[in-house]
Symmetry: C2
Subunit: 124 residues, 2 copies
Amino acid sequence: MDQPSFDSQSLGRRLNELLVLSLLRRAPMHGYQVAVEVEEQSDGFFTFNHGTLYPILHRLEGEGLIAGEWSVPDGGRARKAYALTEAGRTYRADALRQWKTLVGRLSPFLDDGAAVDKVSDGAA
Amino acid sequence: MDQPSFDSQSLGRRLNELLVLSLLRRAPMHGYQVAVEVEEQSDGFFTFNHGTLYPILHRLEGEGLIAGEWSVPDGGRARKAYALTEAGRTYRADALRQWKTLVGRLSPFLDDGAAVDKVSDGAA
DNA sequence: ATCTTACTATCGAGCCTCGATATAATAGGC
DNA sequence: GCCTATTATATCGAGGCTCGATAGTAAGAT
């Protein structure tokens, strides 16, 4: 159990990465599209500022987790489509596992009366 | 529109706060004890650096979410015990709701929706 | 022609954690 | 009495990351 436990500092970053990688897992997309999809599919709950999204994409590409490829569609300007790599798939699976671990570990702290700690009153 | 949607930047901070407030909800504690309890009860998964914890406590106290009171036990140095205030209880309930919303909203992105069930691309 | 939309990109400011360091009081070893 | 470990609170600089603004390109609409 020598897990790196939990790094609250990078939590936001890792969640953003997980979101991007999860979208890219379904189909390759270019940056702008990622932002639009995330926002649409979550009814506006999740959003990506451009100044946040592009650095993420560049970082992930630099780490070999996604691969970008430029293309110029008939009508329109050049865009860079990103696809998940094998390493990215592995990384995503791991990140997902970590996320679920976090949620599970946090749970007993949030719900009291979980019958684990000292529950003085038998309300639950 | 009226939804603050989701702020990835403050996610770590808010999770830490939620953790602290949730512990304090069960019983008043002083700072050092919060750190010890969190670490013990999570088997070392969650930890609090002192440089992280105390600013959090001061912030929460400044916002009136927790109330600190100095006491000097027979043997030992002065300690400041923090107790959740009414405002803190409300805030915690809200933060908890937000956390669960986040988890719920994120879920469909993580688990492939309906369509993709088999990964059929070339021999894995 | 100009304005809007689609699209990629970068930079400074600001916030927050991390790790080191300081302070202080008591208990125990010697 | 002295030294160190333990309990406990507190602050500061460094670093990382998002946010919002800014910038630039190209196509299509007015």
